[in-house]
């Protein structure tokens, strides 16, 4: 069972952002989605997670149609995501940011939590135990009670990924997880993402950082002008003349592409630092 895009299409008026993309993603693997800016990578993630509507075609997860569901129902089907611009619950603590993810399973007991304190604390302890486990995985255990908005940028990125993982999602969608991180942090992130691999999980990463993509991904999808240009292993993608011509220019331009990605990261870093 897998995630399947079937002739998936997204149009904004006359503009075709995603042009009949058909692809399937096997569990247990980490799938990378790469391509120049405007290729439609983030649009794919946003449609899968239900943030954007689908113009035509369908998205199936384990035979269940996702694109007709509401966003929260998609999340409850086992889909978790991070955002290109970090979206944490800023005034809640790091721990609470993860704890609230247990809402779908625990909300039925709300009134019992209100009237019967021992039940409430048992429930809360059980939730928090699971959350602390994930926080430790991301070296955030020391920041559990810090307000999420007050954490440094790199930690916020980690916390957002931790939040996506806390309910053990079937499908994990990461939208530029390395954006704004420095070399050291990116290497750290790569190791942590490799560690979260599980045979049941489908992980999809949209990323401009080629070091991360090539190191981490088992399968890479190259998008170009809303179309699926190429699909293969990192070695195949690097060897493909199609990809080189359409996306990288010529083989010698790879350094330019790297430099461009570096610039973009620097830009993002500056912008986010100003924001916080």
């Amino acid at each position: 069972m897998t995630l399947v895009f079937n002739k998936l299409r997204k149009e904004y008026g006359q503009v075709v952002a995603i042009d009949d993309v058909t692809a399937s993603f096997a569990p247990g693997l980490i799938h990378g989605v790469i391509g120049p800016n405007g290729a439609g990578k983030s649009t794919l993630i946003n449609m899968t997670a239900g943030s954007y509507t689908v113009s035509a075609g369908s998205i199936m997860l384990d035979g269940k149609r996702l694109d007709k569901l509401k966003k929260y129902q998609i999340a409850n089907s086992g889909v978790a995501r991070t955002y290109q611009n970090i979206r944490l619950f800023d005034q809640m603590t790091a721990l609470e940011n993860l704890e609230v993810c247990f809402y779908p399973s625990d909300v039925g007991g709300t009134w019992k939590e209100v009237v019967w304190p021992p039940y409430a604390s048992a429930r809360r302890d059980r939730r928090r135990e699971k959350c602390m486990e994930i926080l430790r995985l991301f070296d955030l255990q020391g920041h559990a009670d810090a307000e999420a908005g007050s954490l440094p940028y790199g930690r916020q990125r980690m916390l957002e990924i931790a939040r996506a993982l806390v309910c053990n999602p079937r499908l994990l969608l990461l939208d530029e997880p390395a954006a704004g991180l420095n070399h050291h942090e990116t290497a750290d992130l790569t190791a942590k993402l490799a560690a979260q691999r599980s045979p049941d999980r489908i992980t999809i990463i949209v990323e401009h950082d080629m070091d991360l993509v090539m190191a981490l991904c088992d399968n890479i999808i190259v998008m170009h002008h809303g179309k699926l240009l190429f699909q293969g292993t990192p070695a195949e993608v690097q060897a493909s003349t199609d990809v080189q011509l359409a996306y990288l220019g010529t083989a010698n331009d790879i350094d330019d592409i790297r430099a461009a990605a570096q610039d973009r990261r620097a830009q993002l870093g500056i912008r986010t630092r100003r924001r916080s």
Partner: protein, 331 residues
Amino acid sequence: MSVAESLAAVRPRSSRAVAFLVFAVAIALIAATPFLPNYYIRVIDSLLIYILLGIGLNIVIGYTGLLDLGFVAFYAVGAYSYALLASPQLDLHLPFLLILVVAACLGAITGILLGIPVLRLRGDYLAIVTLGFGEIVRIIINNVDWLTGGPKGIARLDKASILGIQIARPVDFFWLLLVVVLLAGLVAWRLERSILGKAWAAIREDQDAARGIGINTTNAKLAAFATSATIGSIAGAIFAASQRFVSPESFTLQESVLIVLMIVIGGIGNILGIVAGAAILILLPEVLREFAEWRILFLGLLMIFLIIVRPAGIVPRSFGPDKLIRRLFGK
């Protein structure tokens, strides 16, 4: 030892002392109230009603982050529930406790009825629509003369009694209100700590990301509107019983604004703050009564001062009931 170190060593104990002091003063005030002249007890009764309203509205504004300017509508629903079910108006004389239950249910229903159309709205738009809702309820009450007595209101409401004990004197209402305020505060606080309360906070921080982690924001928001309106409606029923007279004049936009101000000045999202905010906005005008029209100017200046000095409120969100309890009992 450096100054900073010695300060750090002293602080926990001294802030614990402050917590104990606040607690002791509160107990002393409660114990002293029955011995005050009736006028003062009436002022304290009205303070407690406003605290109750604040606790209710805070669920929507403070916990869930939805600016509701029509809260007075639920207050009116509760008040008119009592007025119609315990007066010669319809010649109905139901027992007080039963009316409280009816008022709570009607409040919850009106809360959901308001909640459904405003689900998609946030911020300014939500404020304007809820403001309109509050006005609509008041105008309907003002014009349905055959039922509500129109602008004349409904007079000669029954004296309330609970299990045969008559509740008529201001001091009776003081004890009743104290119990209801403590109960409502307890429920609101425990709701805030529950998983639903965490979901409300997530909606307040980022509604879209909240949906992204699987929160059905429609249900969570309706739950907030319903609980908030229930508390407002109960406050209204008790208010009507204590005045034994209701008229649309008590339910103007100004009342809604006053409750919002209490929350903002006291400390948004914090029950302790609401008590502080209500104390300032309800008690101070009484204290300053002898200065006549100057008191409005004085109150305005005080509000500007407080907003500048303590923008997060007198008791900010970070110092909630949890923290007070931890300070008091040191866990």
